[in-house]
């Protein structure tokens, strides 16, 4: 590819290093790997939601091709619990033992030279299942007489929490309005375009189990596999090859990974499983199914005095490692007040166990639901008080002079100007023009509405945050090993995993900033537990902040050494030289990086006295404060609705975004737009409903819709850059943010459009049918 940019450091819109192989079809994903002798796996998965598992009848000719729980009894089950003593934990075995608890749970694994043959074998087996009542919904699972999904539990709730902060009694008393609503989000999937996959084989020479997985966290997965099958970590290597999107769904320790690793070890045989789309929709971790009962207490100006919420999350049948089944609800409780000043707050939460696919992390995690609940309430409050929702928001947004701000739940919002983002969004979308257009009416009789949503997003969570959650792992830091090769090029070995975020480019930009080396001369090696120091992987909008910080520290130290050696070669002192364009410069002379590198590696006799040979520097980075760097944004949109058909169209969509210092604005914009597209999926299209037998009703792309090219609008974007005081360069994370606000912004716009009909949409995804139902119930009992 042709690179033409000259400035390449922090802030430059450098084109990506990783594009060339991907554009030439040379990306190598899990299914593209070639390990000689690999057998392909197909799982027999439970066809029912809840049953006692009897015998699995395997035709005798396949007895050496089919493996059951008993064959893998040496593998420890996956247990993900918080340190809260009230948390009721699950044991998820590699393959189901005695009982199945959701449609899609793995019962057996069949292996054959091709996946088609493995599926034939799976088809030939018979299952004995003694069905139990399916607890297919949160209300069903928490009914007083509900049977227990995990027999030793008190009830079907992983964890209940209850907090009360500030003077809520006074808020209730002082309020002139106390508005209550029930809101809900549909269940859906993360749906990366490349499904999950695992290939494990034992390297006999190294006596090492090599596990290729389409994972977001190779080192952490190595730890999991080593513990689960009692191998020393030195005998396990995890490699994530090219990964075709993750969005959270590949940042877990899955039973599929455990099964394939354990079976490859047991049989001393390379085995691969490639998830198909049906498995992906029914058995990859699910997301988003939250229900809220919220009350907001306010005065007549719309000033919020207090907030009360009951949050229920359908966490599915097992607790996903390491996040636990309480993650969603816990995050919602912590961030529900969002960017608004809330002086009194009470929240109860329940993370409920049902006979459904386990819920795991998905872009935005609890924040999308929290933002939806809070921002839909603010619009409802404004409607009730006959105020403009924009005014109510501006009244309640935390002011820049209050930064840093400690929220009522103890979150440390580090920096930013939240009202400015809202004002810029209102100006960009031209709110006055929308209001007058609404007053005029549309020629085609459609109704149009305006909606906005503001969020603040904790990113790059550090040690303090993870400790407070009581998880099995504290993801507080990130390493980098910077290695200058004798020819003067740089290899960065990092513990994160790049699956679309552009980190092979942006980390090189950090190296350019510190070392003056061209981005094209930097190779970023990631996704392999054997090539970098122990790292935590890519999730939680952390990699640019954390790994970027580590690369900066390592390259900074490397730069010092390069300057010392370069100065010696130029017969001057280190403080008299600078680094740029791949050279060490004095005012009159220069020496190239390869000459410096050659001296440090191949010709130590050329080094200054006392200088150690070698140009490998390893560094670890933690932000100065570990309470997170808070990105924020306002999303504003205009929707048109046909009240006769319920059909909707997005007429305009604006994002005003602040992720601190931008390393690469081109990549920032694309990450935000990609997030918005997924958020619009949550808002309008994506849902995996279950029937009352616990059967998932959308298991193909014919009935599960992800937004296509014609569904996503051209997003207009404006940036504010408020550096975080806690992080290197002031970077804040941004990977997830785009997906947080769209459901709230869209629902607010629809409710604004349908105001005259008294319709009140409270549920995502908003389908045309749900619009018509809202119109109908609005007409029956107008507000």
């Amino acid at each position: 590819m042709n690179h033409s940019d000259t400035k390449q450091g922090i802030g430059a819109a450098v084109k990506r290093n990783e594009d060339e192989r991907l554009l030439n079809g040379q990306g190598t994903y899990l299914a593209d790997l070639e390990i000689p002798g690999t057998l392909e796996a197909a799982f027999i998965r439970s066809p029912v939601a809840h049953a006692r598992l009897g015998a699995v009848k395997v035709p005798s000719e396949y007895s050496h091709h089919v493996f059951l729980a008993a064959d893998l009894d040496f593998a420890h089950p996956i247990v993900a619990a918080t340190d809260d003593p009230q948390f009721q934990s699950t044991k998820q075995f590699a393959l189901a033992k005695d009982k199945v608890r959701f449609v899609g749970e793995m019962i057996a694994v069949c292996i054959a030279p091709t996946r088609a043959q493995a599926e034939d074998i799976a088809q030939s087996c018979e299952l004995e299942l003694d069905e139990l009542p399916a607890l297919w919904d949160m209300d069903v699972a928490t009914a007083p007489d509900a049977p227990l999904i995990h027999e030793h539990w008190r009830d079907n709730v992983y964890l209940k929490t209850d907090v009360s902060l500030g003077d809520l009694e006074r808020a209730r008393k002082d309020a002139t309005i106390s508005l209550s609503k029930s809101l809900s989000m549909g269940r859906h999937g993360a749906v990366p375009l490349e499904c999950r996959g695992v290939l494990a084989h034992r390297d006999r020479r190294l006596n090492e189990l090599t596990v290729y997985s389409s994972t977001q966290f190779p080192h952490v997965l190595r730890t999991c596999i080593s513990r689960a099958i009692d191998l020393p970590e030195s005998q396990v290597r995890v490699i994530a090859p090219d990964v075709g999107g993750g969005f959270g769904a590949k940042g877990n320790f899955s039973p599929e990974e455990l099964t394939i690793a354990a079976l490859a070890m047991k049989l001393d045989q390379p085995i691969r499983w490639i998830e198909d789309r049906r498995e992906n929709l029914i058995a990859s971790p699910h997301a988003r199914e939250h229900r809220y009962d919220v009350t907001v207490h306010a005065n007549n100006d719309g000033l919020i005095l207090g907030l009360e919420a009951m949050i229920r999350v359908d966490a599915g049948a097992y607790s996903v490692w390491p996040w636990t089944a309480a993650m969603e609800a816990g995050m919602v409780v912590g961030i529900l007040p969002g960017p608004y000043h809330v002086p009194a707050y009470a929240a109860k939460s329940q993370s409920i166990c049902t006979n459904k696919t386990p819920m795991g992390p998905y872009r935005g995690v609890g924040r999308t639901g929290a933002c939806f609940a809070m921002d839909v309430m603010i619009d409802a409050l404004a409607r009730e008080l006959h105020l403009d929702p924009a005014d109510v928001r501006l009244l309640n947004l935390i002011k820049p002079e209050d930064m840093p701000y400690q929220s009522i739940t103890g979150k440390q919002y580090d920096s930013g100007d939240y009202p400015e983002a809202a004002r810029q969004a209102l100006a960009a979308i031209d709110i006055d023009a929308i209001r007058s257009r609404q007053a005029t009416g549309e020629k085609d009789d459609r109704l149009i509405g305006f909606g906005m949503s503001c969020y603040t997003e904790q990113t790059a969570h550090g040690t303090a945050e993870w400790v407070s959650r009581g998880l099995p792992v504290v993801f507080g830091y990130e390493p980098a090993l910077a290695r200058l090769t004798p020819d003067g090029k740089l290899i960065l070995h990092v513990g994160i995993q790049n699956h679309g975020q552009g980190l092979e480019t942006t980390l090189a930009q950090v190296a350019n900033e510190e070392l003056g080396i061209a981005v094209a001369d930097v190779v970023v090696r990631h996704g392999d537990s054997s090539v970098s120091p122990y790292g935590m992987g890519t999730f939680g909008s952390r990699s640019m902040t954390m790994a970027g910080g580590a690369v900066s520290v390592a390259c900074g130290q490397l730069a010092d050494k390069v300057k010392r050696i370069g100065a010696h070669l130029l017969q001057t002192t280190a403080d008299a030289v600078t680094l740029s364009d791949g050279r060490v410069h004095t005012e009159t002379a220069s020496v190239a990086l390869n000459e410096v590198a050659e001296a440090a590696t191949l010709h130590p006799e050329r080094l200054p006295e006392g200088e150690e040979p070698g140009l490998d520097i390893s560094a670890v980075y933690e932000p100065k404060r570990s309470t997170g760097a808070f990105s924020y944004a306002t999303h504003a949109c205009v929707m048109a609705v046909d009240p006769g058909t319920g059909e909707m169209e997005i007429l305009d969509y604006v994002v005003v975004h602040d992720c601190g210092r931008m390393v690469n604005p081109m990549i920032v914009e694309a990450q935000v737009v990609g997030g918005v597209a997924q958020g619009l999926g949550t808002a309008l299209y994506e849902e995996i409903p279950y029937d009352n037998n616990g059967q998932p009703l959308s298991s193909t792309f014919l009935d599960y819709m992800i937004p296509g090219c014609a569904e996503v609008p051209d997003v207009r974007m404006l940036h504010i850059e408020t550096p975080s005081p806690h992080t290197k360069y002031g970077i804040k994370g941004l990977g997830e943010g785009g997906a947080i606000s769209p459901p709230a912004a869209v629902v607010n716009a629809l409710n604004d459009a349908l105001k005259s009909l008294g319709a009140d949409i409270t549920q995502t995804p908003v389908t045309p049918l749900r619009v018509l139902e809202a119109i109908e119930s609005g007409a029956v009992s107008p507000l």
């Binding site: 554009l23 749906v191 990366p192 375009l193 552009g502 081109m666 014919l702 992800i706 014609a710």
Partner: protein, 157 residues
């Protein structure tokens, strides 16, 4: 049941005997090791597996190899020297039209076909024209910009 079939893949004649159920995608990927063709859904919706069959874009995941006797198959690998494809790839690079890269080969092949049929498409026509190729990463904005730029660059070439 196995059947023999003769077809042309990227200009090279191929004679083979395959299971009648073997999809073209699996044949290309497993037998010929042409792995630029990706499988995103295996039921003909996502478009990641798009290849050219006799010059027309088609879903290789739902095309059966044995039904393609005499057909000319072209994958992304076979378009490495195609001048139009080189311009399209450069435009995808310049306009950040890809993130994880998994949908990209199918997206490039559909783009080439779209621009052949509609050399100067509007943004809406691009969105309509690529609506059979799903991307989960980009939100399509970079892709649309890339296709519009490719159209300009092809016109200038």
């Amino acid at each position: 049941m196995k059947q023999s079939v003769s077809l042309t893949v990227n200009g090279r004649p191929v004679e083979t005997t395959v299971e009648s159920r073997l999809s073209l995608a699996d044949f290309l990927r497993l037998e010929l090791r042409l792995t630029a063709t990706h499988l995103g859904c295996e039921h003909g919706v996502c478009g990641a597996c798009t290849v050219l069959i006799d010059g027309e874009p088609a879903r290789s995941c739902i095309a059966l190899t044995v039904s393609l006797g005499g057909a000319q198959i072209t994958t992304l690998e076979g378009l490495a020297d195609d001048p139009a494809m080189q311009i399209i790839k450069q435009a995808f690079h310049d306009k950040h039209g890809l993130q994880c890269g998994f949908c990209t080969p199918g997206m490039l092949i559909s783009t080439r076909d779209l621009l052949k049929r509609t050399p100067k498409p509007s943004a809406d026509a691009v969105r309509e024209g690529l609506s059979g190729n799903l991307c989960r990463c980009t939100g399509y904005q970079g892709i649309v910009r890339a296709v519009l730029k490719a159209a300009e660059d092809l016109a200038a070439a």
